[in-house]
């Protein structure tokens, strides 16, 4: 236990402590002594809040879409993910690094990408200008597409394993013998159990998407930027005086994420103990 804490919590605590010192002007080369100026400018400016909101939006859309697709795939044909060619093909997308997926999406959805060329050849658009703005766009369509591509196979594997372990096939059959239609048994039995069992993983995946870096770096827009991209910009771009702000954002984001995880998972375990 002590070793585990030493390897996980301690470095994190040191990191946050150092960030706090840096953000308040108490550490780092060129620090000017205690000041709350950097905290003030991050908290009162709109940039960080927009970035946090945008990160939540991207994570919610990505998880929502991937969840829908994966649930549909597993509920409609649970056995095809357990045996046969699909059962191992579905692992292949998981081997792709995020940067590669981002690049594939860029090549497919950008103005001069495959999709745009195809619709142009088919005579549906008159050129690049007519193709919708799906990459480097303010709504994060490209980022969401890349995350959905990465998350859907992962959720399919997760749900398909849960389906088997929780013997949901047998429950569905039971529901059918009691007169439930396929749709009813999916909505009332299979999906609720899958979601309940997968909830902690979904929360963690949400956090993972929120903090992703490579995908929004390539596919994102300059404004708003996702939290990680914004932090790196503050940390590494031209103005050294911006660096404390990067540490402020780092601390705020960590507090937000740890708070959300603790709140959601504790609530969940509380619910479970009641059942």
């Amino acid at each position: 236990m002590a070793l585990f804490l030493g390897l996980t919590a301690l470095p994190l605590a040191f990191g946050i402590g150092y960030s706090l010192l840096h953000s308040t002007g108490l550490a780092g080369i060129g620090s000017e002594g205690f000041t709350l100026r950097h905290w003030g400018s991050v908290l009162t400016g709109s940039e960080f809040w927009r970035s946090l909101g945008f990160s939540c939006w991207v994570a919610a859309c990505s998880i929502g879409l991937a969840l829908g697709l994966a649930l549909a795939a597993v509920v409609r044909g649970p056995e095809r993910w357990q045996r046969g060619i699909l059962s191992w093909l579905i692992y292949l997308p998981l081997t792709l690094p995020a940067m590669v997926v981002a690049f594939l999406v860029f090549q497919t959805l950008s103005g001069a990408g495959f999709a745009s060329r195809l619709v142009y050849r088919l005579g549906l658009t008159g050129g690049i200008e007519d193709f919708p703005n799906w990459v480097n766009d303010p709504w994060g369509v490209g980022i969401i597409a890349a995350h959905v591509l990465m998350a859907t196979p992962f959720f399919i594997i997760l749900f398909s394993n849960l389906y088997q372990n929780e013997r949901l096939g047998e429950y569905a059959q039971l529901a059918a013998t009691l007169g439930a239609t396929a749709r009813q048994s999916a909505r009332r039995v299979v999906v609720p159990v899958l979601l309940r069992q997968a909830f902690p993983t979904l929360v963690l995946y949400f956090i993972f998407v929120m903090g992703s870096y490579e995908i929004p770096l390539l596919l994102g827009s300059q404004s708003p930027q996702m939290v990680s991209v914004l932090t790196i910009r503050k940390l590494q771009r031209f103005d050294l005086a911006d660096m404390p702000q990067a540490y402020v954002i780092g601390v705020l984001y960590t507090v937000f994420v740890v708070g959300a995880v603790v709140f959601l998972l504790r609530k969940k375990s509380g619910e479970r103990s009641l059942v």
Binding site: A27, G28, I29, G30, E47, S110, G111, A112, I128, E129, N133, N136, D137, P138, L217, L218, S221, Q222, S223, L235, Q236, R237, F238, D239, L240
Partner: protein
């Protein structure tokens, strides 16, 4: 008495005998001693590795040459400006006595930041035998972002920013600010600039033009002048913003994605800080043969790039020997060849021995960029670093976030 003398002599001898084993300050060594100390050592160089031609020059030409001539193993690591600053800053904060780096490829804003945190060793460049050939009279070489280099970084190459266009679509490229605005408005979505170094360098040339051109913004940062001219610059950009790529709502994050958009036809323009890059990109087959580089009449910034030695480097002698090789006539000559890299030399050709001057002048000329002499007419000096910092910040507030 004799015993005392003997004791002192013995102590003295021991002390003398001991001293060569102490790490000597490389600034006090003769060049012969520097070469000796560098022999058999490893030099860790951090450089931007985003261009295959530059990487090939370093790995297939420079590294074998310094190994063979000086017995130095050259190890390169990838990283530019901010990464170098971060690395050295972290090492200093952690109180390390020896840096991971011995040499770093830097220019203007990195030089400024590294000097701010006092992370550079120097002055050292006057110790290099080949420094005598460097064109130190040239203000584009002896001054980096309005800051005298003062021997703290060694000039390596000299380039001028150029605008690249596709002559298949753009018959006559816009040469003035007004012409550029007209062009952008009549051809929406085909022009943009990136948010990093190159794009900001382009904005700087517009700022200088607005301020009155030429030397209008020379000298230290001038808040009043900056506010006056930048207000007009933001007005200008707001006017053309709806007609830029993606309606000016976003901008490429670096010059590489912009090159890609140019190569696949989405953009008709791209930019480069190296006036010769268009030639090397066409030779590599990345740009269409209809790509051309030019400098608008309002000018573009010419600057040099340099090699710096971190203060905490454990192998300053090796770093100096490598730097000296990099500014040798043969290494500079090779580098200027457009099929190798196409980077402009920092040497004063009239100072070179033998027939080097002739050899430089007989190098194959570039095909897709205007000749250097033509570009030189519109060359602008780099501004004080604060201009760039403010432009980066205000561009985001005034244009991107609006």
């Amino acid at each position: 008495m004799q015993r005392t003398i003997f004791l002192f002599t013995a102590l003295f001898l021991v002390a003398c005998n001991d001293s060569p084993q102490q790490p000597t300050d490389p600034a006090t060594l003769t060049w012969e001693q520097t070469l000796q100390q560098a022999q058999g050592s490893t030099v860790h160089l951090m450089m931007w590795q985003g261009d295959p031609l530059i990487n090939a020059y370093m790995q297939q030409y420079v590294a074998p040459a310094v190994k063979e001539q000086f017995g130095i193993t050259l190890e390169t690591a990838s990283g530019q400006g901010n990464v170098i600053v971060q690395t050295l800053m972290t090492e200093m904060e952690a109180g390390k006595s020896n840096s991971e780096l011995d040499l770093a490829w830097i220019n203007g804003e990195t030089f400024y930041q590294l000097r701010q945190i006092d992370a550079l060793f120097g002055p050292w460049t006057d110790r290099l035998p080949n420094a005598q050939f460097i064109d130190f009279q040239n203000p584009f070489i002896n001054t980096d972002f309005q800051q005298p280099v003062g021997g703290y970084e060694c000039p390596w190459g000299n380039v001028q920013m150029a605008v690249i266009y596709n002559s298949e679509f753009v018959k006559e490229p816009p040469r003035t600010r007004e012409a550029l605005a007209d062009f952008v408005k009549t051809h929406p979505g085909k022009f943009t600039f990136d948010t990093q170094f190159t794009g900001l360098t382009f904005l700087k040339s517009l700022l200088i033009d607005i301020a009155g051109g030429g030397t209008a913004l020379h000298g230290d940062f001038d808040e009043k002048k900056y506010l006056q001219s930048s207000a007009l610059l933001w007005d200008y950009l707001r006017e053309i913003k709806p007609f830029l790529w993606k309606n000016g709502k976003t901008y490429p994050d670096a010059v590489a994605p912009m090159h890609q958009l140019f190569a696949n036809g989405e953009l008709w323009f791209t930019m480069s800080n190296n006036d010769c890059e268009v030639d090397s990109k066409v030779l590599q087959g990345l740009f269409p043969t209809t790509a051309r580089a030019y400098v608008p009449d309002f000018g573009s910034i010419q600057n040099s790039h340099y090699m710096g030695i971190p203060k905490l480097s454990g192998n300053k002698a090796g770093a100096m020997v490598v730097a000296n090789f990099l500014i040798s006539p043969e290494a500079q000559f090779k580098k200027q060849d457009p099929s190798v890299w196409g980077d402009g030399t920092v040497l004063d050709l009239s100072k070179l021995p033998g027939d080097w001057k002739q050899q430089f002048e007989n190098l194959p000329t570039r095909k897709y960029a205007q000749p250097r002499s033509e570009l030189q007419k519109h060359a602008l000096r780099e501004l004080a670093p604060e201009y760039m910092i403010r432009l980066a910040k205000d561009f985001r507030e005034q244009i991107i976030n609006q």
